[in-house]
Amino acid sequence: MNVSLDIDPWSATRLALQATFFLTLSLLVKQLFDLRNAARLKHLGRPKGAFRTPMTGLMALFGAVLLYQATWQLTGLYRPQFVAFMQSHDRREFNPAHWIQRGRLLDRRGEVLAESLEREGRVQRHYPDGPVFAPVVGYTHPRFGASGMEAVVSRQLDGGDPNSLKDLGELGRRILGGDKRPRGRDVVLTIDAELQRLAVERLGARRGAVVMLDPRDGAVRVLASVPAHDPNRIDAELFSGSDPATPLLNRATQGLYPPGSTFKIAVAALALERGFNGTLACPGDGFTTASHYRKIRDHEYYSARRTGHVWEGYGRLGLERALAVSSNVFFAQLGVLQGRDAFQELTERLGFNGQILLHQSTYGRFAMRTGHWPALAANDQYGLAQAAIGQGRLLVSPAYMALLTGALANQGVAVRPRLIATARPEVLARFMHPDVANRLAAMLRRVVTEGTARAIDIPELAIAGKTGTAENPQGDAHSWFVGFAPAERPALAVAVLVEHGGYGSATAAPIARDLLQRAHALGLMPSASKP
């Protein structure tokens, strides 16, 4: 379809007439100015120039109005809300807003995640993978606005924010030529399309989230949430909230879940920092803070009871071994031993009860929730014991668990996660002391070589991590795995959550392994050095 080519005689005449009109008008303005001497008011007094300043002010005021008018009339494209308004409410057929070729959103290797295509005389936004990348790119719709990265980088996508001479030249050419088909600029994301597709495929029909990032510079490679909405089909029903699968909820960044045993890494870090170096007795019968509270027991106690046996318990456990076997009895005691105040201080240092901003602009923000932790009553020892094993009232988001694991892998330093490839890496906070982080990293490697996650060990990848099986009031336990690889020089950190997926070792851990394996094949992480 090309409108500009079929020029009928009237169009040409009209153009000529308009040019003549402008010329005549310009000539008139020039004459009005030039003839001021010929038309001097000689019969009045001599000019004193008393009103020179007000006239200058008046010209400045009108100039300012014209300049501001130009920001709408000539560069209105850079106002995404304005463009959205015109796209949904303006019926002028030749309004360029209807013909904007918005820039594409690309993955780190240039694969198209979102693009604008012209169909049936209208430019439409197309998302080739449907819901797969929806948690990252969001959607854009004239009526329902925009979300996700579509909203955050709206200006760049519409062609705004000229940041080089070339861009400015392009802008000038576009304005002068009365361009009716504006083209935006592409934005490259840090996401790896292949890994994200794999994550979504492996989650399958289950609900869950996967987040994978580079702990050294915060580049997010996978941000999957299943089920997600299809950004190709945005309608009012989607926003009515009637779908029980909550496809608009970004589980990765906004979903809050009990972390289960994966949170033991934070408690271990706390204990190590406070100089814990001993062992704790872990009776098979379990541990509680007061007799009227249910005892916190290890998983083995229940399996033994199911077969009619009585479990003797682990006896005395050190931290490394307790992590490997994921002993609830050990960590409940360890938590109580640190005390409420130290635990409170830990959650504050780790940024609980907050949001972490990934990207922000006038037109949208991309943020992730950290975790939820209501301040505990001073004497609530049992609450503390529960929180220490990632149960009770402690909740976290999957993206946050990836960040926490990443910080552990990165000498204790958390780097702000980012989705835009050109965004600068930025240190968010120090979560733990480097020594503590290094010692913990070694212990987490043991979890995979000989502990609960030994089923996923691949020597070449040297995965380190922690499984989690989080009990919840809604049904079966949530399946968790958090980890990083290679253990010596971590290049990727990952958090996998499968809602009601059962044991972490059975459901979440294999997904993490598959992703790390593929990432390794894609060159995103080096092989582990041979021991």
Partner: protein, 452 residues
């Protein structure tokens, strides 16, 4: 049409005047030509869309051109000495307004009896009558003796009568048949203010020594009048008029007395009044909200301004071409939002050219004030120019979202009989002042030929 350097003393006075007014002639020609091309564009677009040619199509333009011929010949024959540039700028603006109104179908072109068709010609004639009637310094008699107070009382009575007997429409009060008689205030109030400030200039300039206190003893009639008028106008929700008159008052006080303190005092009072108004009027708050964040309520409060801006964006730099846009999508485009239509159809370039013509008009008004030695005439000219400039700025600023909407018209271009006629009268007054006082005339009377 060639300029003659030195008119021969022995030629007929008409010929002398004719040769003296050649710049005006050239400007009028250009206006007629430009507006003619505009009509061509507009009518052509209509035919291209399949409208049939009608004999009455060129009627508005013919009327316009004819009126300008009458205007010029009359001015020449009465040997009017008033400003020619002003007439040139005005002729173009009036023609442009006429063109825009025909374009928007404000009146029925096919019906030669439609009064809307004769609005601009009638306005030009009215301006001519005012200018000639008050020329030769006769304007000075407007505020002689007790006449000064007649203008003040007349203004107050006018607003009060409209308030009592007017009808409410879209939140404002109108006279019979949606005529807005309060537009006349722009003339009556400024005539009173100019007379009053001129009469008491010395005393009003006498601020307290040491602590600067305004000369209340002489200021109170003015204050009382302004407060009464503002109260009446605000009851009618005519905020635009209050702003226009207040700015004119401050500018006249400042230049009439040379006291900067009046500007400071005015600024403080304006800020206080603004804050007070916002708390009292929900209507004002809504407009302020629509201005600050138009996307808060895009399909409600901000619909009109956003549609206007969409049209302008659609027009871009060069515009869709006169007659080729869709101004019908902007509500009430023909009155307050005519500027948005100009932006849509003639683009940013057209808008800039229009603003330039307006600036020439204002600059010329200020020049006349600057050269006028008669105190009342100087202030009158200054006040009227200030009003026109403020009104234009309020309209343009509102439509482009630079400032909150005040709902005032664009002088000479917007639809609205009362506003249009008042603008013409204002220009007539400025022209009358520019004709100068008879004693100051330097051109000697040429001897009459004996045969006559």
């Amino acid at each position: 049409m060639k300029p003659r350097q030195r008119p021969d003393m022995n030629t007929h006075p008409f010929v002398q005047a004719w040769s003296r007014r050649w710049p005006e002639r050239r400007l009028l020609w250009l206006s007629v030509l430009g507006i003619g091309i505009g009509f061509g564009m507009m009518l052509g677009s209509g035919y291209a869309e399949g409208r049939a040619f009608a004999l009455t199509d060129p009627l508005p333009w013919t009327l316009y051109a004819g009126t300008l011929v009458v205007l010029h010949l009359t001015l020449v024959s009465v040997r009017f000495q008033g400003d020619q540039i002003l007439i040139g700028a005005l002729a173009f603006l009036a023609g442009f307004g006429l063109l825009a109104q025909v374009r928007l179908g404000t009146f029925d072109v096919a019906n030669p009896l439609d009064p809307g068709l004769y609005l601009v010609p009638a306005g030009i004639v009215l301006m001519l009558l005012v200018a000639i009637g008050l020329s030769h310094g006769r304007y000075a008699r407007l505020t002689e003796g007790h006449w000064l107070w007649v203008w003040a009382a007349g203004s107050l009575v006018l607003v009060a009568v409209v308030l009592l007997f007017g009808q409410r429409y879209r939140g404002a009060v109108y006279g019979v048949g949606l005529v807005t008689p309060t537009e006349l205030l722009k003339v009556t109030v400024v005539v009173f203010l100019a007379g009053f400030i001129d009469r008491h200039a010395k005393r009003l300039a006498n601020w307290g020594k040491g602590f600067p206190l305004p000369p209340m003893r002489h200021l109170w009639p003015l204050l009382l009048f302004c407060m009464g008028l503002s109260a009446l106008l605000l009851t009618q929700r005519d905020l635009g008029m209050v702003v226009i008159l207040s700015v004119a008052l401050l500018v006249m006080l400042f230049f009439g007395t040379g006291r900067t303190a009046y500007l400071v005092l005015g600024g403080v009072l304006a800020a206080l009044a603004g804050a007070l108004l916002l708390t009292v009027f929900s209507h004002g708050q809504r407009r302020l909200a629509a201005w600050l964040d138009p996307f808060q309520d895009p399909t409600g409060n901000s619909w009109q301004i956003l549609q206007g801006l969409s049209g302008m964006y659609s027009g871009g730099l060069w515009g869709e071409g006169f007659g080729a846009g869709n101004p019908e999508y902007t509500p009430i485009a023909q009155s307050d939002f005519i500027y948005a239509v100009i932006g849509e159809e003639l683009g940013f370039v057209g808008a800039v050219l229009l603003v330039l013509v307006f600036l020439v008009l204002f600059g010329r008004g200020l020049t006349i004030a600057d050269q006028t030695r008669q105190g009342f005439g100087r202030l009158l000219c200054l006040g009227l120019t200030t009003e026109l400039a403020t009104q234009t700025l309020l309209n343009l600023g509102g439509v482009t979202k630079s400032i909150p909407l005040t709902g005032v018209t664009l002088p000479f271009v917007s639809h609205g009989g009362s506003s249009l006629m008042t603008s013409f009268v204002m220009l007539g007054l400025i022209l009358a002042v520019s004709d100068g006082m008879p004693t100051r005339r330097r051109t000697p009377k040429p001897p009459r030929p004996p045969s006559d």
